[in-house]
């Protein structure tokens, strides 16, 4: 079942004068299925983050439209939550209060149950009363994912969520995210510039070109989870994308 549909999305920033404007996205067409994990992959400045912000309703596209369940996106909506890098959590709230942030219209007991459930799900037991400054980067990122999941959205948008983490934590976080995705069955759009990350996580990788961003290729990652990172199929798909982006896989 189709969930998110991008139709002829074009984006130009800046003034009406052609020489001052920046054309970042060009004719993006893409549809994402219910429960699918899609990575938007591309070099820095290719507009992948802008595309995610358009889907999230934070930016209006210059051309085209995004629909979710057939309904046009006109602004941010609690049914679709955007996860920023770890700095998105509210530093003035405790772990519990952060997770409960979006639940302000729920009755108190419902709120309490959901908070407890998601504290558990992301493994922050024992830190309920801690403030974000007392947590590590990885814990803050898990907290933000928990805050997003607590309002039971259909779609999660993740904008390079693990970019600020060290490489070991990043691997653990990917595993966590896959576990959560399988448990919660959300549709996920995940922006990254990390080829390995995209092949490890996604059902499909959408490779964008440099500015203005266009869809160069959509690669199906037909490897079941958990994925073996030395599997020949994994290496083949990864190298194909390296080739697509124009990088020889050598240092």
């Amino acid at each position: 079942m189709t969930k998110v549909v991008f139709t002829k999305i074009g984006m130009t920033f800046g003034s009406a004068k052609a020489d001052k404007s920046v054309h970042v996205l060009d004719d993006i067409n893409l549809s994402v299925n219910q429960g699918e994990f899609v990575c938007l992959l591309g070099p820095s400045g290719c507009g992948k983050s802008t595309l995610l912000n358009i889907a999230g309703g934070f930016i209006k596209p210059s051309e085209g439209e995004v629909t979710i369940d057939g309904e046009r996106v006109t602004g941010p909506d609690p049914r679709r939550i955007f996860v920023f890098q770890e700095r998105g959590v509210f530093p003035w709230l405790t772990v519990e209060q952060n997770i409960g942030f979006g639940l302000f219209r729920q009755p108190a007991n419902e709120r309490r149950e959901r908070i407890a459930h998601y504290v558990q799900l992301v493994g922050l037991q024992g830190f309920e009363q801690s403030y974000p400054r007392e947590l590590s980067g990885g814990m803050k990122q898990r907290l933000e994912v928990a805050r997003a999941l607590a309002v039971n959205p259909d779609v999660l948008y993740l904008d390079e969520p693990f970019g600020a983490l060290d490489s070991i934590t990043r691997l653990q976080m990917r595993r966590e995210l896959l576990r959560i995705w399988q448990a919660e069955k959300k549709t996920i759009l995940f922006v990254t510039h990390d080829i390995e990350e995209s092949v490890q996580l996604a059902d499909r990788v959408v490779v964008l070109s440099a500015r203005p961003g266009r869809v160069r290729r959509v690669v199906d990652i037909d490897i079941p989870h958990p994925r073996d990172l030395s599997d020949p199929r994994y290496l083949q798909l990864r190298d194909e994308i390296f080739g697509e982006i124009g990088l020889a896989h050598q240092i």
Partner: protein, 256 residues
């Protein structure tokens, strides 16, 4: 041997203070006939004020004026600052007025204060209000500008109305900077109340100082007034600093 933290915290400050007192005492002892009182005479003057019941009355009078002027300013400045921080056009429109008023010392308003409010408490409170209002407004505007875009975006994403966004994201987001601004502004307000009381009223610590001089060169009372002003200023600052240790604002200070 004392731990070095204790030396830094108590021993060194006390040593400095003791040396200052000693130097003061010796300087007075070496200049017979001077009107400037010795430390002992100054502290006796504080006791004299206490015995007459003036000590408490004057301190309360000064604090009363500061409280009203300062909190009225806070109550108006924070909402205005939030509004201007969010509403760019309003800020641009008001900015020239705010910048023009900023370099004018609150004391320059004394004649106008007396014209409008007469000689009395209201004039003094008005001056405190003026001294506090601008810095608090500008601090708030600045703090709103510094709020992280991702926090506002997250608030909107979770479906907050504008009012809820102000209450749940903007106010907690500006609090650390606002508290610093409040502390500095309270210091200014305390400077101004003393000056205002020298002209506009007949009670309070500022009044004590001019009155003691006018009524028979009681310089011991003058210095007693100065000591009290300093001590209360320190106490107010200490109390405001306590606010900076609240758990939900500590994120805003770099020492973490």
């Amino acid at each position: 041997m004392l731990p070095s933290a204790a030396i830094l915290k108590f021993v060194l400050p006390l040593t400095g203070l003791t040396f200052f007192m000693l130097a003061w005492h010796l300087a007075i002892a070496a200049s017979p006939g001077t009107l400037v009182p010795s430390p002992a005479a100054s502290f006796r003057a504080i006791l004299e004020l206490a015995e007459k019941g003036l000590l408490f009355r004057y301190i309360v009078a000064s604090l009363f004026r500061v409280t009203w002027g300062y909190f009225t300013a806070l109550l108006l400045a924070v909402p205005l600052g939030v509004l201007l921080g969010l509403w760019r056009r309003g800020e641009v429109a008001l900015n020239p007025i705010l910048q023009l008023l900023r370099p004018i010392s609150p004391l320059a308003w004394i004649p106008i204060a007396i014209l409008w409010f007469g000689v009395g408490d209201l004039s003094a409170m008005f001056l405190i209000f003026l001294a506090s209002f601008l810095p608090l407004t500008l601090t708030t505007v600045h703090a709103v500008h510094n709020i992280e875009g991702v926090h506002l975006a997250a608030g909107r994403n979770f479906g907050l109305t504008s009012r809820e966004l102000v209450r749940s994201v903007i106010v907690p987001g500006i609090l650390p900077q606002l508290i610093v601004g409040m502390r500095i502004t309270l210091g200014i307000a305390w400077l101004v109340v003393v000056a205002a009381e020298m002209i506009a009223v007949n009670s309070g610590l500022g009044f004590l100082i001019v009155d003691a001089r006018n009524a028979g060169n009681r310089y011991d009372l003058v210095v007693a007034g100065m000591i009290l002003i300093g001590a209360i200023g320190v106490a107010l600052d200490f109390l405001m600093r306590r606010l900076e240790t609240l758990p939900n604002v500590r994120w805003g200070y770099a020492s973490e």
